[in-house]
């Protein structure tokens, strides 16, 4: 390399170093100051999956965040500052979500960050914002793997997913022996959200004397579910527990079961049936009848603020209480928790917010109480089971909860 080339190289390296240092200084000062000039909005950075595999959930999350921001702004804003959402799409990519949060913090200088959709994206997102000292409050990253990374800045306002199916499994176990199904099939996608739920439910159901006739894990990239569904149908199990994350998977299994003339007495899917009209418009109201799903919230929930949120949703986006996706409530709850943390710490200092959220304080949300443990899991959340009964989406478990309706059992034929 000649002398001129060496100068250019040295100049290039120095420029990059200076630029990086400047960026770090800018971002760290932005994160640490926690103050916003009077009249300026508070900007919240969000990466959402507006295309790709999680696009349905991403769109529902966007609605939830927007409803919360609208509500806060209508009531004078956050500590007097109007809330401005800075939303960028990650196309459901774990790589893009990192780039997005880096851009939101270092270039857009957002004051706060809240989470994307899914456990898959929440972990890289939390790692990315942790480098800048930001908190990441999220609503859809409840898989056990999310809390095994030593991160202290992640907080999931929703229910930890591992025990989601427990009320359902307990209900099966509580049935009189004469009515209790005798065989069960478990089939799940290899996803951090679904896989941990299945063994917990299987253990309880098996202990109640229900024989496991089929257990299989299928890859997330599966596009043709027919052979797997046919294998389940061939076992003629009376219970089917499906570990799913989206509507297409549930719809494909239901269609294949119907084509095989197979009607299980109980059918529960971990994700998909909770998508409101996003689910019933695909499978139809009649075929949805009797389908169950675990979750922490539904459109008719009476938790504080829930009915007001549903009313605002219906006014803005149409539909009815039964058609509101649980994703909307999860995102809205994130906003509520951020709101309470900002008010309690009297500012937007992320370090103070993280410390406050770890303090053991109990907060409120439309999904119910929120209290974070040292890992950032919400240990106050209660798991419920919901069921489509006609055009209504009703709570059926835990059976000792006064809001629970009787389970439609056995499930009507497709």
């Amino acid at each position: 390399m000649n002398r001129k080339g060496r100068y250019f190289r040295a100049f290039g390296v120095t420029s990059v170093a200076v630029a990086s240092l400047a960026m770090m200084m800018t971002t760290s000062s932005g994160a640490a100051s926690g103050t916003i000039a009077k009249g300026q909005p508070v900007t919240i950075g969000i990466s959402l999956s507006l295309s790709g595999d999680f696009s349905v959930d991403g769109a529902a999350f966007k609605q939830g965040y927007q409803l919360w921001a609208d509500n806060v702004n209508a009531h004078g804003g956050l500590l007097g500052h109007q809330v401005k959402l800075d939303i960028v799409s990650d196309a459901s990519s774990a790589t893009q979500v990192v780039t997005n949060y880096q851009k939101l913090i270092s270039l857009d200088h957002v004051n706060l960050t809240v989470g994307p959709f899914s456990s898959l994206l929440s972990v890289p997102a939390a790692k990315a914002v942790a480098r800048y000292g930001y908190a990441l409050v999220e609503g859809a990253g409840g898989a056990p793997s999310v809390f095994q990374n030593g991160l202290t800045n992640i907080f999931d306002v929703s229910m930890p997913v591992k025990d989601s199916l427990v009320p359902f499994a307990n209900w099966i176990a509580s049935l009189p022996a004469s009515k209790r199904p005798t065989t069960a099939a478990y089939v799940t996608t290899n996803d951090a959200f679904t896989e941990p739920q299945i063994p917990v439910a299987q253990k309880i159901i098996k202990a109640a004397g229900v024989k496991t006739s089929y257990y299989s894990v299928f890859p997330a990239e599966t596009t043709d579910y027919t052979p797997i569904a046919d294998a389940v149908a061939a076992k003629k199990a009376q219970i089917v527990v499906l570990g799913s994350v989206d509507v297409p998977t549930v719809s494909a299994f239901m269609q294949a079961f119907e084509q095989a003339h197979y009607n299980p007495k109980v059918f529960i899917a971990t994700g998909g049936p909770d998508q409101g009209s996003g689910f019933t418009s695909v499978v139809g109201i009649k075929k949805a009848n009797g389908v169950m799903v675990p979750n922490a919230w539904y459109g008719s929930a009476t938790t504080p603020g829930s009915q007001a949120m549903v009313a605002a949703y219906v006014k803005k986006y149409g539909g009815s209480a039964a058609t509101v996706s649980a994703d909307v409530a999860e995102a809205y709850s994130v906003g509520q928790v951020i709101n309470q943390a900002v008010v309690a710490t009297k500012g937007f200092d992320n370090a103070k917010i993280i410390k406050y959220l770890h303090s053991g304080v109990t907060l409120t949300s439309v999904q119910g109480p929120v209290k974070f443990d040292s890992l950032g899991e919400n240990n106050k959340a209660t798991a419920f089971t919901f069921q489509w009964q006609g055009s209504k989406f009703v709570q059926v478990n835990p059976t000792n909860n006064k809001a629970s309706k009787p389970v439609l059992f056995p499930k009507p034929v497709w």
């Binding site: 295309s51 349905v56 299928f218 797997i228 509507v247 297409p248 719809s251």
Partner: protein, 280 residues
């Protein structure tokens, strides 16, 4: 039966590559566009899914012609093939964004009595949609084969497939053949999209799952080979399904890709490909 539908979708892709040396990454989203067109005709006009093909196939043929004239025909030079990946990816993103705006990201599925209706044969329940889809794919592939091997235009296509320069020297209008081939390649996605949309819930993002499978099919079959696309599609679906049932769904894709690697190690040009690498 499912394999024949994938074959139909992959046929367009391999035809376009064979004649034009263009790798059409937009093929997946065009399949979904075909599915959405069938959805609109069915929901808003009450037109049967199969009858609707009389509208959607010509519509997508025109879409193909427009895309070829405005984008593909402008690609020249030795980087034409690699540039086609970028251009068709851009087209894919434009169509995906447009579909998301029009139909939202909520998934939909095509509905008709034959989607869930079944008949029994040798103790097995067969859904009419798979049977009708198979007949449709077989009919269209036969028509395509007839056109290629029994018509004058087909001879022009085959000549262009073999050697574009020589074809031009003997008086074939290679540019016109290319345009029509691109239109045909896109038109067949209408039928594939309809059957896919009837057997799977979909939104615009579903195209990413599709294009990876379609590219795999034409690589295994041999890029530019119609028969190869048919055989590879059937092999991919059958092998995957058998492994899923007798072993585990987890090993379904790895086994297929293991077979793909073995085949490509022995025959880099694919099962029916004539050359390992084409020169643009």
């Amino acid at each position: 039966m499912t394999g024949s539908v994938y074959a139909l979708m992959a046929t367009g892709l391999t035809l376009i590559f064979g004649v034009m040396n263009i790798i059409n990454i937009a093929q997946g989203i065009l399949v979904i566009l075909g599915a959405y067109l069938s959805y609109s005709l069915s929901v808003h006009f009450g037109i049967d899914l199969f009858a609707g093909l009389l509208i959607t196939i010509p519509t997508l043929f025109v879409v193909g012609i427009v895309v070829e004239r405005f984008f593909m025909a402008r690609l020249k030079g030795p980087e034409r093939t690699s540039m086609s990946i970028l251009v068709t990816y851009a087209i894919s993103l434009i169509i995906e964004g447009s579909l998301n705006m029009i139909y939202t990201t909520n998934v939909v599925q095509l509905k008709a009595w034959y989607v869930t209706g079944t008949f029994r044969i040798f103790g097995l329940w067969i859904a009419y949609i798979y049977f009708f889809g198979f007949l449709l794919a077989a009919g269209l592939l036969a028509a395509l084969y007839f056109m290629l091997y029994r018509t004058r235009f087909g001879a022009s296509i085959r000549a262009s497939l073999a050697d574009q320069t020589a074809a031009a020297l003997i008086g074939i209008n290679v540019k016109r053949v290319s345009t029509i081939c691109f239109g045909l390649g896109v038109a067949v996605t209408a039928s594939g999209g309809m059957v896919y949309g009837a057997t799977n819930a979909f939104n615009a993002s579903t195209s990413y799952d599709l294009i990876s499978r379609l590219l795999t099919i034409i690589v295994l079959g041999g890029m530019g080979s119609l028969g190869g696309a048919l055989l590879a599609a059937i092999l991919m679906v059958t092998l995957g399904d058998v492994i899923a049932v007798v072993w585990s769904p987890i090993w379904s894709s790895p086994t297929f890709f293991f077979v793909l690697v073995i085949v490509l190690s022995l025959r880099p040009q694919g099962l029916f490909g004539k050359q390992s690498a084409r020169v643009a």
